[in-house]
């Protein structure tokens, strides 16, 4: 359901969308069923002359409850268990596992700009050839990246909707995670945690490039201000 609105740009995007699709099916079923019963009851038992409400004493209520409330209740319990299993598997896949990264990129959020530190030619971070850019992240499609996320001042949230990636950046903490781009293109990076007056004006651009384009970019990194409004 989500891919209709937002492309699946990373390896685990399809798993998150699958979980959302499963929950969507279940919740829509229950929602329509219960609303249907509600409106049917309203129509069926509307006040009509000569029609009197029935009185269910405790015994009758109990029988009715066992038949009509307990069964759907158990089915909901099953649905919940399915949702929990789905949620935990997807969460473990995305947040708990950390596959060996081909490259590490450092993301530092600050009041109203993103600073990306790419590993540069040698593929190693904290070496002389690192490329530091502002509000512009260049990655190669198909490569597994691990990111080190930090913040300078307040809470921010590193969010790439197309990757289904979101992780809050907390000042004083370094939070790691991973993503593996699967489609080429130019996408949005948003801040998902309110960080003051400029929260709405700190967009960054994500460039997922083919291996050749990426190598070309590393050779002579474009002037990172190309995008700024």
């Amino acid at each position: 359901m989500l891919e209709h609105y937002m492309q699946q740009g990373s390896s685990f995007a399809s798993q998150i969308d699958g979980l959302v699709w499963m929950i969507f099916l279940m919740t829509t079923f229950w929602f329509l069923l219960v609303e249907g019963i509600l409106f049917w009851l309203l129509w069926r038992f509307r006040a009509r002359p000569g029609h009197k409400a029935v009185y269910l004493d405790d015994h009758a209520e109990h029988a009715f409850e066992v038949k009509w409330i307990e069964i759907p209740h158990r089915v909901i319990l099953l649905c919940d268990v399915a949702v929990i299993i789905g949620a935990i598997t997807v969460w473990s896949e995305v947040k708990l596992s950390a596959p060996a990264p081909d490259e590490v990129v450092r993301v530092v959020a600050q009041q109203w700009a993103w600073t990306f530190t790419h590993a540069g030619r040698d593929g190693k971070l904290d070496t002389a050839d690192d490329i530091v850019t502002i509000d512009e992240l260049h990655v190669q499609v198909g490569k597994t990246y691990s990111y080190e996320l930090g913040a300078k001042d307040v809470l921010h949230s590193f969010s790439i909707p197309v990757f289904r990636l979101k992780q809050d950046a907390i000042p004083g903490r370094v939070i790691t995670g991973w993503f593996k781009p699967t489609i080429v293109g130019e996408f949005d990076v948003q801040c998902a945690e309110i960080c003051g007056i400029g929260h709405g004006i700190m967009p960054a651009r994500l460039y997922v490039e083919t291996p050749e384009a990426h190598a070309a970019w590393i050779a002579n990194p474009t002037h990172y201000l190309a995008y700024k409004f």
Partner: protein, 568 residues
């Protein structure tokens, strides 16, 4: 308010009260009914302020960077302040005072059959502290630097350091207002719980207590047991702001995540605190208007208590991706999805109450049914956010905004209108105009869905919260998304346009409405067994209770209701 206000004959009271002066009667009263009206009117006034904020920032979202009529140009700082205070006002200064304090004060003494709250002066004091908190909040808009703009959750370091929020006094005044509001509701809660536990009418056993009283009492208990850590947190945050301590400052040994835990430990029980009173009103209304016994009273009670207890175990689903240890997220995801079970059972039991009834669609019943229908949508969309895997995408998007408006709107607005239209004859002794209310009902409900269904779609498309201008994000400024934002804003405009219709009907009928008899809806609970509006001292003599509150359509009786206090 004019002297003819409801209390025509100031009948002799059980206490032989001396004649009160005009000021004492309306502003210094210790009568639980007058204090209820004070809370109600303050809540409605602040509801108007909150709605005005919603109007301004929705206009900015629909027509970015154009001056909003009635406000002017909305900058980033303005937008954050408007969004922050819309949230804070609607939860702390509209939902809680109206649902818990106004209806709690009015209904608990009447429904348990006693003459007033156990501590009348403490009751008056808690309203006065609440009023001061509202004034302090109002002051926070006019201080140098502007109002606080760090979201109603006020996460530090943004809310703790002036150089980050660029508002130096606003956050402290905002925090002081919230802390005062907590004190007011702690004192009020003690009154509600003690009155409901101790001063029940003779013969009223535990399962004879109407569901509305049970719900308001459980809500107060949830509030009193959950607000503590946040009061401590507010003291710590205020010292961080003004004195310069480093409780939440990472550079000085503090930890911002501690505030998130302190806040949400209170935050989630808080949403059940405002939910339960609305559920209580709906229980009273659907039983009265379907002339039928509340289905499985004990199940409703036990699931309410179960939901209340479980609500203390779920708070970190607000922080799945906020930097808590990812392994904790699995624990809280399990408890969050499991909490849908007691709520689902309660909804089924409410719907089962309609089975076999003879349902008359008067205005209170329309609101109560709309509550069930809309709240189902809110509950169902909560599963997406409770599942940790799916929350990665949906966290802090408009999907979350739409979800919690599908729970808060039924609670605060639909629940309040249901309660108001149901108990208006008892509160003011007169009837409101039915047709005007029905027009208001249908427009408000359709427009409400018109506002928030598009927001679900926008949230799924990646729209993030609290961003005042989507022009900077190419993916979010596609034409179809902007059309949805305009559609939502237009729906809001129509809904706001119809509210004065209800307010006019409300204030006009208060003095000029058709006279109401003691029991217009033919209900069983005790508040309908005393004159409308109830005189000082409520009952003379105080009632005895012989049966449960929902004995409608009992076999072998002429009329289809059986008041709790009638011996036969």
């Amino acid at each position: 308010m004019a002297e003819t206000h409801g209390h025509e004959a100031h009948g002799h009271d059980a206490h032989g009260h001396h004649e009160e002066g005009w000021f004492v009667k309306y502003f210094w009263s210790t009568d639980h009914k007058m204090i209820a009206k004070q809370y109600l009117l303050t809540g409605m006034l602040l509801g108007a302020v909150g709605a005005y904020f919603a109007y301004v920032f929705r206009m900015q979202l629909a027509f970015p960077n154009k001056p909003v009529p009635g406000y002017g140009l909305v900058t980033g700082a303005d937008y954050n302040a408007l969004v922050t205070n819309h949230g804070a006002i609607m939860i702390f200064w509209v939902a809680m005072p109206v649902l818990i304090a106004a209806f709690g004060n009015f209904l608990i003494p009447l429904m348990v059959g006693c003459d007033d709250m156990v501590f009348p002066r403490l009751n008056r004091l808690s309203y006065q502290i609440f009023l001061v908190s509202a004034l302090v909040l109002a002051a926070s808009f006019f201080v140098q630097g502007g109002a606080f703009g760090g979201a109603w959750t006020s996460y530090p370091p943004l809310s703790a350091k002036a150089e980050y929020s660029l508002t130096d006094l606003g956050p402290t005044l905002w925090l002081a207002a919230v802390a005062l509001e907590f004190v007011a509701f702690l004192l009020g809660g003690i009154n509600f719980v003690t009155t409901a536990m101790n001063s029940r009418a003779p013969g009223m056993k535990a399962f004879d207590i109407p569901m509305a009283v049970w719900m308001i009492v459980i809500a107060s208990i949830l509030f009193m047991c959950s607000v503590g850590p946040l009061v401590a947190g507010a003291v710590m945050l205020m010292f961080d702001q003004q004195v310069g301590t480093g409780f939440f400052d990472p550079d000085r040994g503090g930890d911002p995540v501690l505030w998130q835990h302190l806040f949400w430990f209170f935050g989630h029980p808080e949403v059940y605190v405002v939910l339960l009173p609305a559920l209580g009103f709906v229980a009273e209304i659907i039983t009265t208007f379907s002339r039928k016994r509340l289905f499985a009273y004990r199940t409703v009670l036990y699931t309410t208590i179960g939901t209340g207890v479980l609500s203390f175990f779920v708070w970190a689903h607000h922080q799945f991706i906020a930097g808590i240890d990812p392994r904790m997220a699995n624990v809280f995801s399990v408890t969050t999805v499991l909490i849908s079970i007691p709520i689902a059972e309660m909804t089924f039991v409410y719907i089962a109450t309609l089975f076999g009834g003879s349902i008359s669609f008067r205005v209170p019943m329309l609101w109560a049914l709309a509550f069930i229908a809309e709240f189902l949508m809110g509950g169902v969309t909560g599963i997406f956010l409770g599942a940790s895997g799916a929350d990665i995408y949906f966290h802090d998007t408009y999907f979350v905004v739409a979800h919690f408006h599908y729970t808060f709107f039924p609670i605060a607005i639909i629940g309040t209108f249901a309660g108001l239209t149901y108990w208006f004859p008892k509160m003011f002794g007169r009837h409101m105009n039915e047709t005007v209310n029905k027009v208001h009902f249908w427009i408000t409900i359709t427009c409400f869905n018109g506002i928030f269904l598009p927001l679900f779609v926008l949230g799924a498309a990646g729209d993030h919260r609290r961003i005042f201008d989507y022009g900077n994000f190419p993916e979010l400024s596609q034409p179809w998304m902007q059309d949805l934002r305009v559609f939502a804003t237009v729906s809001l405009l129509i809904m706001l346009a119809v509210q004065p219709l209800f307010l006019a009907n409300f204030f006009y009928s208060m003095f000029k409405g058709r006279k109401a008899e003691a029991n217009p809806w033919k209900a069983n609970t005790l508040e309908w067994q005393c004159p409308s509006p109830p005189p000082h001292g409520n009952f003379s003599p105080l009632p005895e209770v012989y049966r449960g509150p929902y004995e409608y359509s009992a076999e072998g009786r002429a009329d289809d209701f059986w008041p709790q206090n009638s011996p036969t």
